[in-house]
Symmetry: C2
Subunit: 345 residues, 2 copies
């Protein structure tokens, strides 16, 4: 049974980069926040999928690792003392009287919020699993062993025999990156042509010519061989069914992410192609008081860039404040004037 509800100004669904920045923006406007995320840590995809990848398009950061950006955003939000409810999904969102909302999480936490900002990215996400019998036996053996769906630390792959499967950016980028330190890197793709960024494909081909990478094309994954605690080989087959056996310590399948906005689809919000449709001027959904920001929303002209999500979070916070206090005139301050709690001017 849900507990006594926690009361807050704003409930933020999603603790990825955009959700974290929404906390900061709400804080600047004197609104308290509770943040819910399905993952066990803040940062969303940046923490879970590619913490060591450099990002180049965050304004004012010529380059920053995804994990570092998350740390900076968390630090920026911290003075406003948000409460995080991690490892749980919001299962229900109900409208209450007076324009408020009740949220209930999968762990039974109940939150009574004056406004809601949904910054849930692609929703709950997970890797697409290649259809091979018994693959689950090789999952969960740990980084650099068995079947891994992501690289959290490159060093886990040092000296390993690595088989990568897929033809997109992740497959190609990690092939290039791991070629430096793995014992071997073989890339299995069902077509000879890769659909990654042309520059990256070129770099991979240079490394292939230099013997640092082997392209196993056109082949598909067929089977895994090994014991209970160790992967030994990946069996692949060409279009005629002819097989090859690739010795391997670890298989990295990069077949994209399943994206599932899950319970969000059932809250009566207007959707377009699995995205929440918002008003571009306010970031408000068709339900007054429920706003969105980041990859989960759509509006005419929307670009899926983190920095757009930041701007959308600012707009959502601004309009959430108006929903909470429709009559209050807001003395609009630049951060250089008002500072943040604990800052020294």
């Amino acid at each position: 049974m849900p507990n006594t509800p926690i009361t807050t100004d704003v409930a933020i669904i999603g603790a990825g980069p955009v959700g974290l920045f929404a906390v900061f923006q709400c804080g600047m406007m004197k609104m308290s926040c509770h943040v819910i995320d399905a993952l066990d840590e803040v940062g969303g995809q940046l923490s879970a999928l590619y913490p060591e990848k450099p990002i180049y398009d965050i304004p004012g950061h010529p380059t920053i690792l995804a994990g570092e950006l998350v740390s900076m955003l968390e630090a920026q939000a911290a003075p406003f003392r948000p409460s995080y409810h991690l490892g749980q999904q919001v299962m229900a969102l109900q409208s209450l009287n007076g324009g408020r909302f009740k949220l209930i999480t999968s762990k039974g936490v109940a939150i009574d919020a004056g406004a809601v900002i949904i910054a849930a990215g692609v929703g709950a996400f997970g890797p697409n699993r290649p259809p091979m019998d018994g693959i689950e036996d090789f999952e969960g053996m740990g980084p650099g062993r068995g079947v891994n769906y992501l690289v959290k630390r490159r060093d886990d792959f040092k000296g390993k025999k690595v088989v990568i499967a897929g033809g997109g950016d992740s497959a190609v980028d990690w092939a290039i990156s791991l070629a430096e330190l793995a014992a071997s890197v073989q890339v299995v793709h069902r077509r000879p042509k890769f659909r990654a960024a042309p520059e990256s494909v070129e770099r991979m081909e240079t490394l292939t010519a230099a013997g640092k990478i082997e392209l196993v094309v056109p082949y598909q994954l067929a089977a895994l061989q090994g014991s209970r605690d160790k992967l030994e080989a990946v069996v692949v087959a060409d279009l005629d069914g002819k097989q090859r056996t690739l010795e391997a310590d670890v298989l990295l399948p990069f077949f994209g992410l399943t994206q599932n906005i899950g319970p969000i689809a059932e809250w009566g919000l207007g959707l377009e192609h699995h995205h929440i449709a918002v008003n571009p001027g306010t970031m408000e959904s068709n339900v007054k008081g429920v706003f969105g920001a980041g990859d989960i929303i759509t509006y005419p002209g929307k670009l899926k860039l983190i920095l757009m999500g930041f701007a959308e979070a600012a707009q959502a916070a601004h309009n959430a404040r108006h929903h909470l206090h429709p009559d209050a005139a807001y003395h609009f301050e630049h951060s250089t004037s008002s500072g943040v709690p604990g800052s020294v001017k």
Copy 2:
């Protein structure tokens, strides 16, 4: 007479933070840029007015000095080799055949551009000058001497007798900041009540109670006394005309900025209250191929925050590319995939 035109993909008017980030975004989409600014250095207001002020609301920078942010943005744009034309205004913008534009600057530089992004902030700006006879004789004596309209380096005011005039955020913030190191700080305001952020006013009052600041209220500036090369005193008068003479090395009048979008008003762009009206989905003005970003534009829901300007620059660049190459499908890449010139992945 204008020289032979320089040909470029995009002309960016304004080298403030938003203009600099527009260079980066255009570069990511393989468009070359020429940037024109009336000031002699990049960074706009951040460089010219408050390089040492901390900013708190740049996503991923819990705190950053305005001048540092400019350096980071300049570094982020640098790999794309923009050309800067500083110390000159764009005087004319003409439409050419084929959707291109010709710009002519006040120094006679002519630029033939495929698209234009106007990121001119508040336009050419300058301080409002208090109406006092002979004030110009005391301007230009250098930092910390005579009449200054801004504080570039606090240290220039060390040990000085400082008179500040005004009742807004700048007057109050600098009174607080300079109280630490000036010989004396007197704040002249024509009303007893200050309209700065309440927290700041409170801090100023605490410093006043402690004898670090003297509030000279309600008084107005009346006259300046001194010699050719030195300010000696500021004469102020109350509403009955009763005068006081304040010993002073430097007067800092903070009566806001004049904002003047200047020649931009004459280019046939749709304006609303001295701002360029743009389509919120594309950042395009009523003239196809002319886009805007940052404080100079307006659209429903516009917030005047630097980070909004960054997002607007991304949208403007994206749509400028479409104007240049209407038929090209764009393989939309995240920066983590494509990198920037010279980056190592």
